[in-house]
């Protein structure tokens, strides 16, 4: 049964890749990129052998925690990094939950991110090769660590999917916040204890080695340092974490079958709640803008991406205080400004076949572009301003505000200009509306990543004028130069955006039917 599920998943993958050359290229590119990173990381682990023991332990543990957290958090933020067997689709077949879990774990372990994680985790043995006992332990712990990563990511995906199936926005936001606190709490504790000490990194790592996410990575180092009791305790914590996650995941899957198998049957509401449509102008662009805004709040696939807005600056400020590098704080607003448009780089994919309505209504491409870009600006502009003010407030560097505004607003507008063009010709397979947003389709993660790189590159090139001026203003601490970069950012950015909407619109007028045809094939 498990073998049948595994072969089903690879059959689906092979068929998808055979049909789409773009996705095949994306997968190959992604694999190559992973390979390069893998070689660098494993070489790094091997070189680590010459450093003193505390540095080795700190690097392995902190790296391991980052890797684990990545597995936990990425399904929440990015559009499905990995193809999945959808429990709901399989619910009609007599498959036991245990077998399904085994199959899903194996699927995770047999695809690029899983293989890479396994290799890196086992590769930590190279760091401890002067102490054979620790090296062997590292190899074994690597396997357990990879399991924790995969099971954890499945668990968060399943929990969040169940949660997002409820349509109350406030419920979702609150639960997501609780989950983030549970995930990040132990790390925060370790930082709080470690950072004030004389050697922040080793001290933090020492605490992390007894937290759920760091325990398994700490075991070999504790053995190498001659603390078998500590190693045993860490191992116990890690195994307990794994078992607990399996129990939670299982319960969550069962809940999925029980509560979401049905479908219809929501509450009935009468007419008269038009929401944003009430005040949007009755034009194609106005309608599409209003609909986009409603979707940002109501559609899990969009709402999820908004997690980035508070998370990014918080992490950067934390990191900056940890490594004493204030310049990191300056990145917060520009990064948020760059990431928000990126969420639209293949936005028509999220319409799915519902996009047919725009085609049959004869919506002009430029109106489509303008509506979507406008909706993003409605909340992206205030978000960027707030993040810029908040991040600089943490430093008290008010004089740099105009320069940071110039860079951020420029990046936001040119990013929007680029995605207005890119989304007129790119569709990536995404989860259909109302379905589990984590059941990504094969290869979509890679396509998204490659596409995002391209879009980011072009957007940065487009934003060069205000970037150069803004950076000069920050470097020279020149307030007038800052204001100059702000005005250039607004003017040049707005100009690019208008041009992007026009060009993207013209492309969409031509490519619209082909996009729909592609989504009809992939969406089914």
């Amino acid at each position: 049964m498990v073998a049948a599920l595994l072969s089903l998943r690879f059959r689906v993958l092979a068929n998808t890749l055979r049909r789409s050359t773009l996705q095949l290229l994306a997968v190959i590119f992604g694999a190559l990129q992973t390979l390069v990173i893998l070689v660098i990381v494993i070489a790094g682990l091997a070189v680590l052998v010459i450093y003193p023991q505390p540095v080795q332990q700190a690097t392995v543990v902190i790296g391991g925690v980052a890797l684990t957290l990545g597995w936990f958090l990425i399904p929440l933020i990015a559009t499905g990094i990995e193809p999945t067997l959808d429990p709901l689709k399989l619910s009609a077949f007599p498959i036991s939950t245990g077998r399904l879990m085994t199959a899903m774990t194996l699927v995770g372990a047999t695809w690029i991110p899983g293989i890479a994680t396994l290799l890196v985790s086992i590769g930590t043995a190279l760091t401890w090769r002067q102490t054979p006992g620790a090296a062997w332990a590292a190899a074994g712990c690597g396997v357990i660590g990879t399991l924790i990563c995969i099971v954890g990511s499945r668990m968060t995906a399943s929990l969040t999917a169940n949660l997002l199936a409820r349509r109350r926005g406030r419920d979702r936001a609150a639960a997501l916040l609780v989950a983030l606190l549970v995930l990040l709490g132990p790390v925060g504790l370790a930082l709080a204890i470690g950072v004030p000490s004389d050697a922040p990194f080793p001290a933090t790592a020492e605490v992390l080695a007894f937290t759920p996410f760091g325990a398994i990575w700490g075991v070999p180092g504790q053995l190498a340092a001659g603390h078998p009791a500590a190693a045993l305790l860490s191992l116990a914590i890690a195994l307990a974490t794994l078992v607990l996650m399996l129990v939670i995941w299982r319960a969550s899957l069962i809940a999925t079958f029980r509560f979401r198998g049905g479908g219809a049957g929501g509450r009935q509401h009468g007419a008269g709640r038009l929401g944003v449509f009430r005040w949007a102008p009755s034009t194609p662009a106005g309608a599409i803008g209003a609909r986009s805004l409603i979707y940002w709040g109501r559609d899990a696939r969009f709402a999820r991406q908004l997690v980035l807005v508070p998370l990014m600056p918080a992490l950067l400020i934390l990191l900056a205080s940890l490594v004493h590098a204030d310049w990191l704080v300056y990145l917060a607003a520009p990064i948020v400004a760059g990431l928000l448009p990126l969420t639209l780089f293949a936005v028509i994919s999220y319409d799915g076949t519902a996009y047919a309505l725009h085609l049959s209504s004869g919506v002009r491409g430029a109106d489509d572009r303008a509506g979507r870009a406008g909706a993003l600006l409605v909340f992206a502009l205030p978000s960027v301003v707030v993040v810029a003010v908040a991040s600089l407030a943490s430093l008290g560097a008010w004089a740099d505000l105009p320069g940071v505004f110039g860079i951020s607003i420029g990046v936001l507008l040119s990013g929007l200009a680029v995605v207005s063009v890119s989304s007129a010709s790119i569709v990536v397979p995404v989860a259909r509306s109302g379905r589990n947003p984590f059941t990504a389709q094969a290869g979509s993660g890679m396509t998204s990543i490659v596409g995002s790189y391209a879009v980011t590159g072009v957007a940065l090139a487009l934003a060069l004028p205000e970037l150069a001026l803004g950076i000069a203003a920050l470097a020279l601490h020149s307030v007038p130069l800052g204001w100059f970069s702000l005005s250039i950012g607004i003017l040049w950015g707005a100009g690019s955006l208008v041009l992007g909407v026009r060009i993207g619109g013209r492309i969409l007028d031509r490519s619209g039917p082909a996009l729909l045809a592609r989504m009809r094939r992939t969406g089914g």
Binding site: S282, A290, S360, P513
Partner: protein, 269 residues
């Protein structure tokens, strides 16, 4: 009668020639890889007719109607609505078409009322007009109680009905409906039929595709039988069926009927 909706065909849309057929397809062709889904189809739908398109599964009905309404670009051939080429003058042509496509999702994170309003706004209709027509359509299709419910929570039949409302909001001259009665309850189906018949009586044109021969025979005045990407026969219902029923004529033309009781293991006793 206040119940009558404002869905009479727009008289102001005098762009196309008055004598031109409602729908004129010439040599429409679509290939998917090696398979020819629609093979050089010619079809003329006279203005003011109630036209049925019937055919077995995979006959190419949806592909044909998608090309006729501007959703799928044909490999060859032309599609004209009241004399206007759908692919050369899409904006003007699509204002005359009301389209209910099969096999596409709706923007289901909107409420039913929002979805109809959204469609009206895409056609730049006046806000007061949208509000009035939305009210009429919701009442007519018996969706008033769930107007504020998300479309994703609708049943299959309700989803069809709300899609139909979206197809009618801009008061089109030609309505193209792909499988409009699928999973719609009998009461709603009868209501929908009344609306469509009223629409045809006042000069509009309706094209429906359906699996139900009975329904087409009762409802339509014209019919085309489509199979394997070609039109096998087209004309008035009486011409096509002759002295037989439409279903007999269909089975005779399409073939593939098996006279057996199914395999032995499928007989419980």
């Amino acid at each position: 009668m206040s119940d009558v909706p404002d869905v009479e065909p727009a008289v102001s849309a005098g762009i196309g020639a008055a004598s031109a057929p409602a729908l004129e397809l010439r040599g429409l062709t679509k290939r998917f890889g090696a398979t020819v889904a629609v093979d050089a189809v010619d079809l003329t739908v006279p203005s003011g007719s109630f036209y049925g398109v019937v055919g077995p599964n995979g006959a190419g009905k949806t592909t044909l109607l998608s090309m006729a309404t501007g959703l799928l670009r044909p490999d060859a051939g032309t599609a004209k609505v009241h004399g206007l080429d759908v692919w050369a003058a899409p904006l003007a042509a699509k204002r005359m078409i009301g389209n209910l496509a099969d096999g596409v999702d709706l923007f289901d994170r909107l409420t039913g009322e929002q979805l109809i309003t959204y469609t009206g706004m895409l056609f730049s209709l006046d806000r007061a007009v949208i509000a009035g027509r939305t009210r009429d359509l919701l009442q007519l299709l018996d969706l008033e109680a769930s107007a504020g419910t998300l479309v994703s929570d609708y049943s299959a039949g309700m989803t069809k009905k709300i899609a139909l409302a979206c197809a009618l909001i801009h008061s089109p001259r030609v309505v193209v409906l792909d499988e409009p009665f699928e999973s719609v309850d009998p009461v709603s189906a009868a209501n929908i039929r009344d609306i469509l018949e009223g629409f045809v009586r006042s000069g509009g044109t309706v094209v429906v595709s359906s699996h139900s021969m009975d329904l087409v025979q009762r409802m339509c005045d014209h019919v085309a039988i489509v199979a394997r990407g070609r039109v096998l026969v087209a004309g008035t219902v009486d011409e096509v069926r002759g002295s037989a029923t439409l279903e007999d004529r269909f089975l005779e033309l399409v073939g593939g009927r098996r006279f057996s009781e199914g395999p032995e293991w499928l007989r419980p006793s």
